[in-house]
Amino acid sequence: MSEDKPKRMALIASQGTLDWAYPPFILASTAAAMEMHVAVYFTFYGLTLLKKKISAKVAPHSNPAMPMKMPYGPKEFQNIEWPMPKMLMGNMPGFDTVATSLMKETFKKKGVATIEELREICIDSGVKLIGCQMTMDVFGFSQNEFVDGVEVGGAATFLEFAADSDIQLFI
């Protein structure tokens, strides 16, 4: 069913935590692998995903539905969902860092790609990465802090690409 005109996908990536970093990079890399033309517009916290070194974390206290499982130990132990009282999560310093390490360890064990890998595949497969000029100004980010190949633009830049696209998603 390959058609003559390639499909186009336009994504907006507005979040910068580890859990929210995966959807845009997974969708963009897979769409490119399916021979679609893809542009991802990074705005607000999403801009942090364009930095040369990504330091995205995950915050359990902001995600009450997060299943808390340990990636270590025997299978029965790994299957336990630990009930974490919200008060504990909010008040314990360093909890986010621990949760982030555990999540990354879980992903590694399950053979899930890292964000860095997925981003590199996106760049190699021609996905357009666009940084929102306005939020770059607001947060004081400059283009040389970002990986190579990032364009900058405003809402009109995104909308021009999106107007001729088949899939548009806000993440």
């Binding site: 069913m1 390959s2 997974i26 897979t30 692998a33 399916m34 399950k110 899930v112 790609a113 997925l118």
Partner: protein, 78 residues
Amino acid sequence: MSNNQFDSELDCQGLNCPLPILKTKKAMDGLSSGQILKMMATDPGSVNDVQSWTKRTGNPLMDHSEDNGVYSFLIQKK
């Protein structure tokens, strides 16, 4: 699988979505028209994913099977 002929082999066992598809695309890019890639994966989602990928890109899925949790696919470069 009935016909076991292939020109290139790609092992994606232990890899999770979207890596099997991403690596398949890269491997297929290296093949000439008519050549066949054998790809193996343990990700159960890969069965639907590979079918979606071959349908979208027009590279025929010649055969696929499962053996003890390992899914094997024969994909031909169009």
